[in-house]
């Protein structure tokens, strides 16, 4: 019982996934920040751990996730206002192209190696 993935379906699935990842990151972020309560030393220890290149790579991943979610979010707002209905696919590809450009611009300075 396979149903074909249209452009709109892909955009929706990615939007859901990226949304869930952002919520997961937010919880993680608040947890990391909660070390501030335990004094400067324990906070510095956590911060030192996060300087690991692995976390830098995850950060680049997060950038991609946030960029997709925001740009597709704009696409959805425009569509929900009733504009560009006939161009929703082109708008998705615009999200992808603009997203990749912003992602590269942002990822290069973050790249740890």
């Amino acid at each position: 019982m396979f149903y074909r993935w249209h452009v709109g379906t892909v955009a929706w699935v990615l939007h859901r996934l990226s949304g869930a990842l952002i919520v997961f990151y937010l919880v993680l972020h608040i947890w990391v920040m909660s070390f501030l309560q335990k004094g400067p030393e324990s906070f510095n220890r956590v911060m030192h751990l996060l300087e690991n290149p692995l976390f830098k790579l995850l950060e680049i991943g997060l950038l991609g996730v946030v960029i997709y979610h925001s740009l597709n979010g704009i696409r959805l707002v425009i569509l929900d206002l009733g504009y560009g209905m006939a161009h929703q696919k082109k708008m998705f590809w615009a999200v992808v192209v603009v997203g990749i450009v912003i992602f590269v611009l942002g990822a290069v300075p973050l790249y740890p190696f």
Binding site: M1, H6, G82
Partner: protein
């Protein structure tokens, strides 16, 4: 040209679960999937069950999933699908009665929820309630709907929540909300802004891809969302 039809079969008296069965059909140019199904039923296997009537895309009986997309069997030419195998399945998430025949009752119940008739409070008067051509134009799309169910059955929001009104029923709501003669707007907007109503639409556009009449329920739903936001209920 020989084409294989892979059809999802189910007989509630004999089978616990639906299963696929293959048939080979000699296909001539111009033959539709419905012609293929008739060929199978009339010459190979009389037990195959499916709905059909007008064979000209106006009755809405033969909506089914063909190669992973909802279409009308009578409106889809086999060779235009460009596949050696044609997979035919009943509309998903509708209860299967037998083979390709699904229970449309839940679909029509959702249609009746939105009160699909003209509501008026003002006295009828001696003449018809007239509309200008511009006012009538707004209704061109929604009155073209043939109630085949292809859109609702293609909607991921409906797959995950069977209580969701679905694109077809919301499209019908649009047809009355934007009818200049109708006076039941508030009543209807209240019904569709329910938790299982139009906010379940995430603008996925599967309904637009599926509609055999090339209509745009997503646009209608977006217009209804705007109407609700700008109307004080």
């Amino acid at each position: 040209m020989e084409i294989t039809f892979k059809i999802l079969r189910f007989d509630p008296d004999k089978n616990k679960k639906p299963y696929y069965r293959k048939y080979t059909v000699k296909v001539e140019p111009g033959m539709t999937v419905l012609d293929g199904l008739n060929e199978i039923k009339w010459r190979q296997d009389g037990t195959l069950a499916y709905r059909r009537s007008c064979r000209s895309a106006i009755c809405g009986s033969c909506a089914m999933t063909i190669n992973g997309v909802n279409r009308l069997a009578c409106n889809s030419q086999i060779l235009a699908l460009k596949r050696k195998t044609v997979v035919v399945e009943p509309l998903r998430r509708f209860p299967i009665i037998k083979d390709l025949i699904v229970d449309m009752d839940p679909f029509f119940e959702k249609m009746s929820i939105i009160k699909p008739y003209l509501i008026t409070h003002s006295p009828a008067g001696l003449r018809e309630r007239l509309q200008s051509p511009e006012e009538r134009k707004l209704l061109d799309e929604p009155v073209t709907c043939i109630l085949c169910g292809a859109c609702t059955s293609s909607c991921p929001s409906y797959w995950y929540n069977k209580n969701y009104l679905g694109p077809a029923s919301l499209f019908k709501a649009y047809r009355f909300v934007f009818d200049s003669r109708d006076e039941g707007t508030e009543e209807r907007l209240r019904i569709i802004s329910d938790r299982d109503g139009l906010w379940r639409c995430h603008s996925i556009f599967n309904c637009v891809e599926a509609c055999p009449k090339s209509l745009n329920p997503t646009y209608a739903i977006a217009e209804l969302k705007k109407k609700i936001v700008t109307t004080k209920l």
